[in-house]
Structure formats: C-alpha cells, structure tokens
C-alpha cells in the first residue's frame, strides 16, 4: 500500500486548485489521480473564451485557464497519476485505483479531496419519446467530438435545452458548417447566461423556442427529424402546436449532476438537493478527513468560483493533516423559503472566521430580500433587485454573527420588498 498525506481524486480545475492550495499551506505529500490522459478536465474541450474574468481579470479560453493551474502544479512538483481510474474509496481513506502500468493499487491517505466534477443529464433522464437511433448526443459529447477529436457529428442540428453548453455548441457547430435549426427550452426563460444567448444564438440568427420541447424523435438508423411542441405552464405539450423539423442530429443540454458514485460508496452523506456531499464551511464532508470541492459538490456557474472553493478545500485538508481532527460544535444551515439549497449545510462554530453561504433561488424573483435567521432572530437582511436560479448567490456572515447563533440557521428569500 502506498501512503500520501493528501490524495485528490480528479485533475480538473477543482483538483488542480486544491492541490496547489494544499501544497502552499504546508503539505508536500500530495497525489492527484486523473482518469484522462492529461490534466485540465472539461476545460480542455471548452475552447471558447470568457473564463477567468473574475479571477485573472482577463478573458481566457478553457485550455488557457487550465494551463495556469497545471503550470503551478508542475512548478511545485506535485505528483500526478494520469490514465488512472479510482475504483473505490473507503471511510478510512483507502483509495483503490487502477491503471495499465501498475495494475490495481491501494493508496492510504490522511485526507482525501473529492474533485470528480459532474456529468450531463442524458436523454434517458428526460424520457423523450421516439426512435433510439444514431445522431443523438449530449452537448458535451458533441463538444468533445468537435473540439478534441476534430469530427463534426452532424449537419442539421436541433438542440434541446438552453444551458450554456448547448448554446456554446450551437455556435460551435454553426462555425464548423452545420446548420442549427432550433434551440428548444421547456422553461419560459433560458437557463444559460445572457451573454451566450447574444453571442451564440443572436449573432448567428439561431432561433430560441422558449416554452417548447421535443415531443418525438424520428429516424430509422439515423435521426431524420424531430417534432417540437409548445408547452403550457405545467410543462405539458399543447396539442395542435406541433412543428416538424428535419434534422440528422439532436443535442441534449439539460443540466449537470455531480458525479458521486465514489462518495456514496464511502458512506458520505449526500444532499438530495445539490446531489453533492453535505459539508461544513471548510468543505469537509460528514466523514472525517474527506473533503469535496468544485462541481462534484455543487454545480457552479463559473470555473473561477470552482477554483476559489477548491483552494478552500485544499487549505482545509492541509490543516487536517498538519493539526489533526478538530472537535466540532456544529449547527445546521437550512434552505428556507424560495431557496433550492444552501451550502455549507453545517457550520462549525469552533472553526472561527467568517462564513460565506452559497445558495440558489427556486425561481425568478424581483425586488426581493435575502434573510439569514437564527430561529426567530434575524441576523442579516440583504435586498436584491433580481435573483434567478441560474446564478449562484452568496452572503457573508461575520465571525461575531456566527458566534452568536444559538439555534439553527435558516436562509430564505422574501418577495415584494
């Protein structure tokens, strides 16, 4: 069995930032396990720009953003195992990994950082009716084909879902010579960033059908067309609104789900809302010494925020290794009215320092108020002009406020103020 102070599962943006931060906070025995042939994770196929504006104040492409962190990892001589898949993780922090050089290896870690990222929701998760034929891809798969493999997976395209990856792929396929006939979004608003509606759809006159979905996919061996329909306020297709579009390719861009198979096996408690681990403010899970960060914990809007969260997890893991397990005095942090979740789910009052609470609203709200309450007592109120589910919100609670908490913390949103 090999021994390391910190083992990081995943070499994407989360794993890289966590590794650099753990190293800089004093732990040198670190191993990053990455199942792909190179570091950088999903950023390698995100060749569009717009990354890094928050963190580096410049607009970078995905590979450029990744390279900033890969360089830092290399400078520090942090050990990396590529082409290595983690098969299991136990509560005692024993990682079983496999690759073609060493076969199956057991690795014992003092602390583990989960940085496995997320996966796309698939057609199967939506139960779209029709033929099960070639030409149906998730947007991310199409992105890998075009940007990494250099292969255009279709010429006449319909995209279901207006998430950012779908919008980015609408533009990318268009640039490469495909015709994108429609982007259908079941909600009355797009789930993608406004800038992507402008520069990916409007720039190329690609129609966006809001409150529409695909009601049937036709084809024999390959997709030949789709039927799209308008939906009512319950998202049920409206009879008579059907419209037929001939196409050879359908892309699904219908959301991301944290990839937590390993976490489940290790007995880590997951949140039914985020589908990621429940964590303390230092990003430690309910299993002592196992931390989580990035999209495996909560699906972020921007990679800049993944890096920020992962640096926190890396620092926390190094403190755990250097100082040992600290005794906690935990209180629950709950999502109240109009919020879909709050993270961290638990706050350790012994930890000291301020705590930033991250959350998403459950709908679109205008002129509203975010409230943080300790039982009946209001600790904080922040007015907001607009809050939308597509944008993660945050509020900061000072150390004094944290220390004053006696009950449970509830974060909520009040309408019409």
């Amino acid at each position: 069995m090999k021994n390391y102070d910190i083992v990081i599962i995943g070499g994407g943006p989360a794993g890289l930032a966590a590794a650099v931060s753990a190293y800089d906070n004093g732990v040198k025995s670190i191993l990053i396990l990455e199942r792909d042939e190179c570091l950088g994770g999903i950023l390698n196929q995100c060749i569009h720009n717009g990354f890094g504006l928050t963190r580096f104040k410049e607009s970078m492409t995905g590979p450029e953003y990744a390279y900033k962190f890969i360089e830092e990892v290399q400078k520090r001589g942090i050990e990396v195992s590529l082409n290595t898949t983690v098969l299991s993780l136990t509560k005692d922090k024993v990682v079983t990994a496999i690759n073609s050089q060493e076969g199956v290896t057991l690795i014992k870690a003092k602390a583990v950082i989960l940085a496995m990222g997320c996966r796309e929701r698939s057609r199967g998760a939506l139960n779209v009716a029709g033929a099960r034929v070639a030409g149906i891809y998730s947007a991310g798969t199409a992105q890998k084909y075009v940007n990494v493999k250099g292969y255009l997976p279709g010429k006449d395209v319909v995209i279901l879902g207006s998430g950012d990856i779908g919008l980015i792929m609408a533009r990318r396929m268009t640039l490469e010579g495909a015709k994108v006939h429609a982007v259908c979004e079941i909600m009355p608003h797009s789930s993608g960033l406004k800038r992507n509606i402008v520069q990916c759809l409007n720039d190329f006159d690609i129609p966006l059908y809001l409150s529409h979905t695909i009601t049937r996919i036709d084809g024999d061996k390959r997709v030949t067309g789709v039927e799209i329909s308008a939906v009512d306020s319950d998202k049920k297709p409206i009879k008579g609104s059907e419209k037929y579009i001939k196409c050879d390719t359908v892309l699904f861009s219908v959301g991301l789900i944290p990839e937590n198979e390993l976490s489940k096996e290790a007995g880590i408690r997951l949140s039914p809302k985020t589908k990621g681990a429940e964590v303390y403010q230092n990003r430690e899970t309910d299993v002592s010494g196992i931390f989580a960060c990035g999209n495996v914990l909560q699906v972020h809007d921007l990679v800049d925020f993944v890096s920020e969260e992962s640096e926190l997890a890396g620092k926390s893991a190094s403190e755990y290794v250097l100082n040992g397990e600290a005794e906690k005095n935990a209180i629950n942090c709950i999502a109240g009215a109009n919020l879909s979740y709050v993270l961290p789910q638990r706050i350790d009052k012994n930890a000291g320092g301020s705590v930033t609470l991250f959350f998403r609203t459950s709908g679109v709200f205008k002129n509203c108020k975010i409230t943080v309450q300790d039982g009946q007592k209001t600790l904080l109120e922040i007015k907001k002009r607009v809050a939308v589910p597509g944008e993660m919100e945050r509020v900061n609670l000072t150390e004094d406020k944290i220390k004053s908490i006696v009950g449970e913390l509830t974060v909520g949103l009040e309408e019409g103020v």
């Binding site: 717009g50 492409t61 590979p63 490469e176 402008v198």
Partner: protein, 116 residues
C-alpha cells in the same frame, strides 16, 4: 436620435445596456456596470467585433485550440473560419505561439494550449 438596447457579452453578468446614437455618433451609454461594458457598447453599435475561438489540426492528427489575439469584425467570422480550416501545423507548439501571423491586419491566430 436613436436608442439601441444591447446585452453586454464581456462577462457573465450580461448587463442590459442602452446606447443613444446620433447618426454614427454615440451620445450616451447607460446600464453598464464597468468600463468594459461602455467600450463594448460603443464598438457594438458601430462595428461589432468578437474574438474567434476554434481549432486547427496538428500534423499528428490531433486538434489544437486557437484564438484570434484580438476581436475581429463579426462579419469576417465565416471568412476567418474558412481560412483557418485550411491550416495544419507541426508540433511542438507552445501556448501563445503565433499560428497564423496577420490573419487580419495586426491580428494573429495564436495557440491556446501546448501541442503535446
């Protein structure tokens, strides 16, 4: 006087910007959060420009991500794609290397990653 509504694409905030135009002259810009937004809006109403990001093929068959090192006129997008699609480069390439010098006057196509 003409009023034009825009959504800024400079960053993920996506500010709704209103530009007042007197002929070709920008009279006012409102709704932006930062100076980038003002710059974007002024350029967008006269001559919209975008950074083009795409790939070129390496001689070993793999793809290399590339971008224009400055925004190019939006109307040139497909012309640029056509020209870039004919480019093949040999390894090794370092991030930032110029792949096509003066793709358009003073604007180069540069590598966004190392080739290996």
């Amino acid at each position: 006087m003409k009023k034009i509504s825009l959504t800024c694409v400079e960053c993920p905030l996506g500010c709704d910007i209103t530009v007042e135009l007197d002929g070709e002259r920008v009279v006012s810009v409102a709704g932006n959060t930062c100076p980038r937004g003002e710059k974007y809006a002024k350029a967008e109403v006269v001559c919209p420009k975008r950074v083009l990001t795409t790939t070129v093929r390496l001689e070993n068959g793999k793809m290399l991500p590339v971008k224009t090192n400055q925004p190019i006129e939006k109307s040139l997008t497909f012309n640029a794609m056509q020209r870039v699609s004919k480019v093949t480069v040999a390894s090794p390439i370092k991030i930032g290397d110029v792949i096509v010098k003066d793709l358009y006057e003073g604007i180069d196509l540069v590598a966004c990653a190392n080739s290996d």
